[in-house]
Amino acid sequence: MKRLALLSALMGQVAPARAATATDLPTDPLGSPMWTYHAERLFADARVVFDAQVGLAIPGIAENQRVFPVMVDARAVPDVTRLLIFADLNPIPLAIDYRPLAARAFLATRIKLDQRTPVRAAVQTRDGTWHVAGQWIDAAGGGCSAPPVSRVKGDWAEHLGDMRGRTWAEGEETRLRLTLRHPMDTGLVENIPAYNLETLRVLGEDGREQAHVTVSGAVAEDPTFTLLLAGREARYRVIARDTSGREFEALIAGPTP
């Protein structure tokens, strides 16, 4: 029980009161040993379908297991309310839990891989159904359990929270890219407690939240996000918060039409 609670906490999830049973779940096309385990916890009682409309794009090779690019484009799925990125065999499986409030079902970031694993994207639609896609990727070990580069160099604190970013017009929408310096410690490296970005929020000019990303330590050091916001505004406010309660804030000019 203790272990379950710990794992749930690691996944950034409140353990569901009643999990869906394995018999309700579709057979995993990837044959992952952890499919049922994760699906029961992440998707609770909801209907789950494997759906090719969920565009999960990853490179063919995990060149750097500490910085593995993942892009999810689920714009072909209507009415997406949540978007998850997880890797079945990572010690911290859930990397991203995204609520695209006034944004498209699109997110690109970089995650850590601790071994060969399925990488998955799951989006939930307004009717509660989860649409899931995934691919196996081979990876060397240690993405989650090796110290970040900035810890080795020792300069992480000098750059903590430094942000870079820009917006671009994309049709009627706004593409926003943001990078933020953060060690994203997993807690799995000896003598370095977990310390990671927890949320990233994008607010419009009226202060309304347009995008809300919940982030775990499975996201790569110096995290990078690419989002697609509905419409265009003159300015966006980005607020990131980490597990120490530190807030990092920046203004990004909207795209010039």
Partner: protein, 320 residues
Amino acid sequence: MILSRRHVVTGAMALPALAPALAPALARAEVFAGSYAPRAEAIGDGVWMVRGADAPILFENGGAIANSAFLATDAGTVLFDPGVSLAHGTALATLARRTTGREVARVYVSHLHPDHAMGAAAFDPAIVHALPATREGLLRDVEGFSDAMYRLLADWMKGTQIALPRGDVTAGEVTFGGRTFQLLALDGHSGGDLALLDHATGTLLTGDLVFHDRAPSTPHADLGRWRRALETLQALPHRKLLPGHGPPDTGAGAIAQTRDWLDWLETSLREAVTSGLSMVEAGRAAIPPRFASLKAARYELERSVSHLYPGLEAELLPAL
């Protein structure tokens, strides 16, 4: 998760249909490493090349992807690049003896990368030479290389100990066993890239400063310095060139092609950052038709995105 024995059995039976992605791993579990069968081909009087597979490092090719060369001298064979593993280096030594009639008496390691350097384990460390920067790079990275090679190549690596070359090579003319050659201390593909020009035949051994019909790899690249190294090689009169990967070249095509790819790569990645593309999108960029003959092009582009993109973002995205 509770898996009954029955689930496991039916799951395994259904596997070929359900999990094609798993099939290669299972197939690999059944396959044992083969033996290296390098072949030497004369490319000049007393000079032979041993061609590597123009492919990524794979279990299927035992990691024998880099080109090596033999130079016959009165004091024994000079081996340029000893391969990836103990067995590979040993096979090259046997082949050298059979080809030139003399044992390997001197080994040069062109640069630190494991497909060129780890086969040094097959030789007496006293005869294995490299640039000081190559030795330093190996001191830093060789344990990681070793882990990565054992993971990818498994039994092909059996018995391969970490062997550091002597970091004692300096640029200049060398005469060994009556054969005179010029050593060039360059960099750009990595922190130290050794090239060798054989005077008698005009054969230029470039290591990985030059790739030919095989996309260049960039894990330790400094593109600006690499371009300067290519200019140096271009300016050096030579009759034949053996690249680190790909077929030999008699004109200036291989150097120009390497330069063309590096220029395109850098421009393409800079444009990707300034137009807002993610790493995944940058790795999916269209590869121009003129590079159609380059093997492993998509593979190396995706690797290069991993190596270079974060640095370009730090340079090109505005600070907030």
